[in-house]
Amino acid sequence: MPAAIETHALARSFKGDVVAVAGIDLEVAEGEIYAFLGPNGAGKTTTVRMLTTLLAPTGGRASVAGHDVAGEADAVRRSIGVALQEAALDPLMTGRELMLLQATLHALPRAEGRRRAEALLERVDLADAADRRVGTYSGGMRRRLDLASALVHEPAVLFLDEPTTGLDPVSRLTIWEEVQKLNDAGTTVFLTTQYLEEADRLADRVGIIDRGTMAAEDTPAALKAGIRDPRLELTIADGGADRARDVLTRFGEVAPAADGRVSVSLGGGRGQVAAIVRALDDAGLMMDSLDVVEPTLDDVFVAKTGRGLDDQRAREQEQRERSGDEQLVVEPARQ
C-alpha cells in the first residue's frame, strides 16, 4: 500500500539551537489511523506543522499524499484537511459562514460548497446552531465545527492536532466516532494526542515521540506485548497469601501487587487463568478477587522514555494549582 505520509530525518530547530524535532522517520499507509503520542513539548505539534506546510523543515524531507511538503506545498494543501490544537475559529463568524469560507479557500464551486457545508453541518450535529456565532459555541461544538471545516474539500489525509484535549467525555466520544467513520470511508488520519486511551482506541499504529525523536512505533497491541506479559492479580482470602505464592510460582514470576494483592505473570497468555484458579482451588485457597492486568501504553511510554505521560500531566496540574491559574501553559504549544 502506498504511503500517505512519509518522512526521512525530518528535523526542525529554532533560534538559539532549540531542537524541536531531531530527525524523525515515519511512514503512514493510505487508510491508516496513525497516532503520535507524547507529552507537551515532545515535538508533536512541530511535526504536524511541518507536515501541513505551516512550518518549513530545517532538515530532512517529508511528503504527504505523494507531494513534497517543501517543493509542492500547494499540492499538499489541496490534499489535506487540518484541525489544529486550538480550534482556529473566528468567534465572530457563524458556523455556516466558516464552512462556506473554507469551501471558497479550497476553490469549490459555490453550489457545491453550499451543499457540502450543509451536509457536514448536519453530520456533526451543528445544523441548528449554524447561524449562531462561533463565540457562543461550547468547546465540543467548536471542535466538531473545526473537524467539519477540515473535511469540506474531502481531503485524502486528515491531520488532527490533539482533537479532544480539554473536552468532556461525551464530546470526546463523539469526535472519536466521527474520526472512526471518516477512516472507514478511506481517509488517512494522522492525529497527535496526549491521551493514551485515544491512541489505544483509534490508532492502527502509534508512534511515541519524546524530546524530538521517535522512541517507539508499532501497533498498540505489539507495543504493549513488547513490554511485558499480562499479569493476573489476585486477592487471597483468610491470610493464605504465602501459600498462594508457592502455588503461583509454578505458573510464572510472582510479585506483590498493590493493596496486599499477589500478582503472577501470564507468560502463556490468558489461557493460563483457568489452570491457576484450579490449582489454587486444589490447594484449598479462596480468592476474593481476580483481575487480568494488561500492560498499557503508559507502561510502554515509561519503558521507552523512562517517564510516564501521567507524571507530566500531574506535574502540570500541580503547577497550575500552585499558580492558581487554570489557563497556565506549561510549555508553548508550538515549539
Partner: protein, 260 residues
C-alpha cells in the same frame, strides 16, 4: 482560472473582514466617532482660524477640516485592520489560511480590500456629516466621487502599514500601541492646519510628510475644485504610504511563513 479563484478568495476574505468590523462595535466606533468629535471640537473652537492672513480661501472652517477628519479616520481603519489581523494570528486563524491552497498574497489583499470598503463608509459618513452641517463640495458630484476614490485608496494604504505591523509583531496589543502615534503623525501634516501658517520645524516636517499630500488631495475638491496637480499629489502621497505598507507587509508575511 487561477486569477478568478484568487479574486474569489480575496472577495470572501474581504467580506469576512468587513463583517468582523461591523460585529465589533469597539472597532467601528473609534473609526467614525473620534474623528467626528475632533472635527466638532476643531470647527467649533477654532472656526475663526480662517480669518488668519494667509489662510486658504474657504467657505468655512468645516470645509477645510473635513479632509483631516477623513484622513484620520482612514488611518484608524488601518490600525483597526492591523489589530484584526493580529487577532487572527493570535487565535490561529491565519494558520487556517496558510494551510489552504490559496495565494499567499490573497491573505493580505483580502484584508486590504476590506479597508478599501471601509474607506467608502468613512467618505460617505464625513461627506454626509459635512453637508448636513453646512459644508459645500466645490467640485460637485465629480468631486464627491473623487473624494470617495482618494479616501478609499488611502484607507487601503494605511491598511498595508497596519498589516505589516500585525504580521511582524503578531500581537494585537502591539498594533494597538501605535494608536497614539496616529495623532502625532497626523498633527505633523497639513491635515488640520495650512502648511504655510505652521511654525518651524513643524512646517518642514509637514512639507515632507506624505499625509500632507493626501490631505491636500482630498481637500482640493471640497474647497477649490478638481485640479490635476492636487489629485496627482494626493495619489503620490497614497502611493508612498501604500508602497511602504505593501513592501513591509510582503516582507513580514514572508518572514512569518518562513519561521512559522
Amino acid at each position: 482560472m487561477r486569477l478568478a479563484a484568487n479574486a474569489r478568495v480575496v472577495a470572501a476574505l474581504g467580506r469576512r473582514s468587513v463583517k468582523q468590523t461591523f460585529r465589533r462595535p469597539q472597532f467601528l466606533a473609534p473609526i467614525l466617532l473620534f474623528p467626528s468629535l475632533l472635527l466638532a471640537v476643531n470647527t467649533g473652537g477654532a472656526g475663526r482660524a480662517t480669518e488668519i492672513p494667509g489662510f486658504p480661501e474657504v467657505a468655512g472652517f468645516l470645509d477645510f477640516e473635513l479632509a483631516g477628519a477623513m484622513l484620520q479616520s482612514t488611518m484608524l481603519v488601518g490600525v483597526s485592520g492591523g489589530i484584526a489581523l493580529a487577532l487572527d494570528i493570535e487565535i490561529g486563524f491565519l494558520d487556517r489560511l496558510v494551510a489552504a491552497p490559496i495565494s499567499r498574497s490573497a491573505m493580505v489583499l483580502g484584508r486590504l480590500a476590506a479597508t478599501a470598503a471601509l474607506g467608502v463608509v468613512v467618505a460617505t459618513w464625513f461627506v454626509a456629516l459635512g453637508l448636513v452641517f453646512g459644508a459645500r463640495v466645490e467640485a460637485g458630484v465629480a468631486g464627491v466621487a473623487l473624494i470617495f476614490v482618494l479616501v478609499s485608496l488611502s484607507a487601503m494604504a494605511f491598511g498595508g502599514l497596519g498589516a505589516a505591523l500585525a504580521l511582524a509583531a503578531g500581537r494585537a496589543s502591539v498594533v494597538q500601541g501605535i494608536f497614539p502615534l496616529v495623532f502625532v503623525i497626523l498633527f505633523l501634516s497639513s491635515a488640520f492646519f495650512p502648511r504655510e501658517l505652521m511654525l518651524e520645524p513643524a512646517a518642514t516636517v509637514a512639507l515632507y510628510n506624505p499625509l500632507s499630500l493626501i490631505a491636500e488631495g482630498i481637500r482640493a475638491p471640497v474647497i477649490a475644485g478638481i485640479s490635476a496637480g492636487s489629485l496627482l499629489e494626493g495619489l503620490f502621497g497614497i502611493a508612498v504610504v501604500g508602497g511602504l505598507g505593501f513592501a513591509l507587509s510582503a516582507l513580514a508575511l514572508r518572514r512569518r511563513l518562513r519561521t512559522g
